[in-house]
Amino acid sequence: MAELIVISTLNGVLFGMLLFLLSSGLTVIFSMMGVLNFAHASFYMLGAFFGYQLTRWIGFWPALVIAPLLVGVVGMGVERYGLRNTHKHGHVAELLLTFGLAFAIEEIVSMIWGKSPVDYRVPAVLDFPAFTIFSTNYPAYKIFMLVVSVVIFIALLVTLKRTRVGLIVQAALTHPSMVGHLGHNVGRVFMLVFGVGSALAGLAGVIAGPSLVTQSDMAALLGPILFVVIVFGGLGSLPGAFIASLLIGLIQTFAVALNGSLASVFGPLDPSLGPSPLTDIWNVTIAQIAPILPYLLLVLVLIFRPMGLLGTRES
């Protein structure tokens, strides 16, 4: 049991940190521009595919740096030539733009790289068990992912809390028009933030690609859960996104590990009732409902605490 708890905690934290890399960008973009960027997970996918391609050409380590930068450039392009032009037509137009973009990116990716998974492997230097705990190996690459995520988290925190750039960004989060009146180029701040957010998503893609599956539906698989994270954590709140990411990562991993069902708590149903939808519900295990738990959480949060865990605004 101790083994299961330790390994599940590690896995959960790792998944949570990956979610945070993605949601940090998304939540900042949302609170600044008021736009839920539906294409955010697509930037994550782009990162994975760029990472895969660059790894083949120039190796993993250069790819780790270049691929996120490329994704960041794409992101800035989208903001500068897409969102900024649609901005005057209101949020719905912007929302629809990112919505369409998500589909466009998915199609383009599957046109270039095909629809089946690409062979994106863990670099040979990191392809060994980092340590063995209760006779279970923990892969070095996962530790590497964890380290990268933590480093990025700290860098982000320091930038936002301790630098002038961070100050302006924070101000633009809550009072965008005031920041504009003070003479800052809010447009450029938006573009840079969008670029950095996309680059972070891209970085998550580059490091997650070899560990998970790199294929054209990876954005669609991860996208919905990101929205859960940012709503749960509170829109625009980075610490909120951090806590929510970890929480959801842990919930999903631990839910899989649990076998409990209503039947195991209250005992099996009277067999005379026979097979019915009720017996199905009765016997369903927590592990089986693990994938829907985050969405259940989303619904509950929206009902009981619409501003999220650490959010300040309700909209």
């Binding site: 299961l4 390994i7 599957s110 089946s116 892969p139 998970l212 294929q215 899989v256 592990a287 994938p291």
Partner: protein, 412 residues
Amino acid sequence: MRRLIVAATAALTVLGGAASAQESIKIGYIDPLSGGGASVGEGGLKTFQYLADELNAKGGILGHKVEIVPLDNKTNPQESLVQAQKAVDAGVHYITQGNGSSVGAALEDFVTKHNSRNPGKEVLYFNYAAVDPSMTNEKCSYWHFRWDANSDIKMEALTNYMKGQPSIKKVYLINMDYSFGQSVRTAARKMLGEKRPDIQVVGDELHPMLKVTDFSPYIAKIKASGADTVVTGNWGQDFALLLKAAADAGLKVNWYTYYAGGAGGPTAIKQTGLENQVFQISEGVPNSGNKAAMDFEKDFRAKTGISVWYPRAVNEMRMFKAAAEKANSIDPVKVAAALEGMKFDVFDGGEGFMRKDDHQFFQPIIISSFGSLADKTKEPFDEENTGWGWHIVSKIDTAQTMLPTTCNMKRP
């Protein structure tokens, strides 16, 4: 001269008429070409296209060329019905599908309804891999033919083998959460319980189908359960990723599988280093020792770059040709009648037959294990460039794979 021209014109007209009458036989291939099932679906498509080319090179079926029409169903039953309707509208009378019994059941229902509503425009459904037993039992249809052994038949054979392995003490079941995965777990529990009551089932897991990208939480759970053997019906990425996670965590158990040989599977097994500890049950393996099959394998690999993963698809297409020739027609109704009860020499040698009662094909079944190849002349084929390949561990004759059916076939 004039007569010659007339004769030539007449001959041309006849030839032209004949050519248009010899329109191609379109086979709608409805399987995933995108999403989580894409790797398997694309392999299947290559196989069917190769088989169509093979038939066409020998003059097609009764002079008709065979054409494969690929239709992407994203492993989704609703999408499959849309694609099936599209195929039928385009003049397709034969559809083939394999990946996902949820899809298979929907298609079976589709052809049954379509054929009762559109007499004279019948469509046959050739199933090469959807193995939910219900499709040839309570839900059976006259218009559905299955070439793959259903999951109960496979489990019967697999448990007969496991029965003789005293080292098996604790078994963990992990399957995909849909009709097929559920039938695997039910059959495994029932048959293991009958044949080896001393075996303890220490885990029984169902996980979302083709959605999990990281199986490490599941592997941690298997490890914690203390299982020495895992039985799984997982296929496609759900198998490859499961094994990949097992390799990462260093989980050392025996694996009894239905589809370990699918795309990505062999690479993942090699990674785990579990030599001859991963078993697969199938109707054929590349290193079968059958000369015709091995020649076919060689040419197939050279042309498609993948191994023959669907010997049953070979059986399906060749038997389709044989049935059409027996009926001397490509009319689906006549082909269906000819297929019933038909005997056929299968790809890897031995005789199989299409049982009339439920349209389930019965054939010799092979249990193989995956490991390094000692004798390259006898076993020349490795998988996915791993250097490892499939060895035959046990062969079960057709007669010993027979299971009763509850099918109450409604004939037209």
